[in-house]
Symmetry: C2
Subunit: 265 residues, 2 copies
């Protein structure tokens, strides 16, 4: 039995000094345990959908799954709220990895076990060709895509787009989770990432940029702000970072040569 | 030498198909190491200001500092980006605590070592008396308080208010950090929390609610959404939770009897 993404609860609404009881739609949040080769890796809080993609995306973003061969199997045990991932072998530095945790600012206190030193730079990528008008069109389509946000106001979303349209979408109560679910879904479908744009509904922290670099996504677009760490990582590793993309305006923070805007003079 | 809260960097701005180079203001983000009694506890990413309050607030929110006597000393080593906290003794369950980490959804993948089972309920608190008009006035004052947000668009804020005005304010690139800094500042100033409202700029996750409960703050107000875990924690532990407080409207999710709104009929 799957949990629903949202549920209704009675709430007292006060408007201009008048009280009424209404039903409000609230985003569901669950805790599940991620086990890798029968060892508990971590407990994750997230929206209840697409837990297999969430688990795989998390492992990809953390650099624990490095290639397609590494993933032997996934099983979601909804009764126990567990996801079991079978890898071909445990990472050699598993113990070290888990003693070197960093709590990040990811709009909260995120944790990451991954080390940015090991990230491969996107040095040899081709420039991404698109028009700025198309970017604004994609952002509009992106904003309309989140039904759960429209219902609850309490979720984040992430999407992959090619030069023409949005090709994959994910949403979650967690900003980082939405990116992990998206990357996990792409991996499970065998979708290439190195010719896509990533759209994120939220602020870009260093940790989200690390996920983008690790998955070799060349361009990242958000309607809000980047942090200085995300800019530093993007600069160092070859990602074109676009922020404050709203209305008919956007800022290019890093690697402008990695983006050819057809309609810009 | 203190780091600045923001800095200026060249950015390419594209507006209606026209490109120009501008200087954009970006929120600074630093990594610092928190040591407790000479042991490394964790690395935290946050805005560079008020690291002493950040460290103390984090330890309070995690239930590591339980009372005023526990805190023997704090030293900020800006050269090494370290904060050294001296406690009267190490928590008895230190090792257990650090093996039981949960990655939260706090708008990202937060980590918490604290266990909600040990939270004291705010059962015997008096109802908080205020008018709804005053709440909207406080929220307006709160929105104007963040200079850094107005400059960078990339930070979160948190404030404490009594029934009349905002009495303490904190901001950080991390939503959870802003709450931790606020709580740390209140502790360092000897300010009581059990007769205050907490205002938060962001979404309320279960983890933020845990901080609120652990610090016995009776009422929490946000202009955005709560998650279902934060509602469950608030319900269980006696916190009045107000969400979507915007314009002249607000929703009361839990413990409406803990709030007397003078101007509501």
């Amino acid at each position: 039995m799957s949990l629903k993404a949202s549920y209704q609860a009675p709430v007292i609404r006060v408007t201009d000094g008048v009280e009424e009881e209404i039903l409000d739609t609230i985003a569901t949040e669950i805790a599940f345990t991620l086990k890798v080769n029968d060892q508990v890796l971590v407990s994750l809080l997230c929206s209840p959908a697409e837990l297999d993609a969430m688990a795989v995306g998390f492992l990809l973003s953390e650099g624990i799954i490095m290639n397609r061969q590494a993933l032997v199997g996934i099983r979601v045990d909804e009764q126990r709220a567990e996801v079991h991932v079978q890898l071909d072998k445990m990472p050699a530095d598993w113990d070290v990895m888990f003693n070197k945790k960093t709590i990040t600012s990811g709009c909260g206190q995120g944790v990451t076990y991954s080390n940015t030193d090991t990230l491969a730079t996107l040095a040899r990528r081709k420039p991404f060709r698109i028009s700025s008008a198309k970017i604004f069109e994609l952002l509009k389509q992106f904003a309309r895509s989140s039904e759960l946000y429209q219902q609850t106001g309490g979720v984040h979303s992430a999407a992959l787009a090619d030069g023409e349209e949005i090709v994959l979408f994910a949403e979650d109560i967690g900003r980082h989770n939405a990116v992990d679910k998206l990357i996990g879904k792409a991996f499970l479908q065998g979708m290439e990432l190195d010719d896509k744009l990533l759209l994120s509904s939220g602020r870009i922290s260093g940790e989200i940029m690390t996920k983008v670099i690790r998955n070799q996504i060349p361009v990242l677009i958000t309607r809000t702000a980047p942090t200085c760490m995300s800019i530093a990582h993007a600069e160092e590793h070859g990602v074109t970072m676009i922020g404050f993309a709203r209305g008919r305006r956007l800022n290019i923070y890093t690697h402008p040569l990695g983006l050819i805007l057809d309609d810009v003079r």
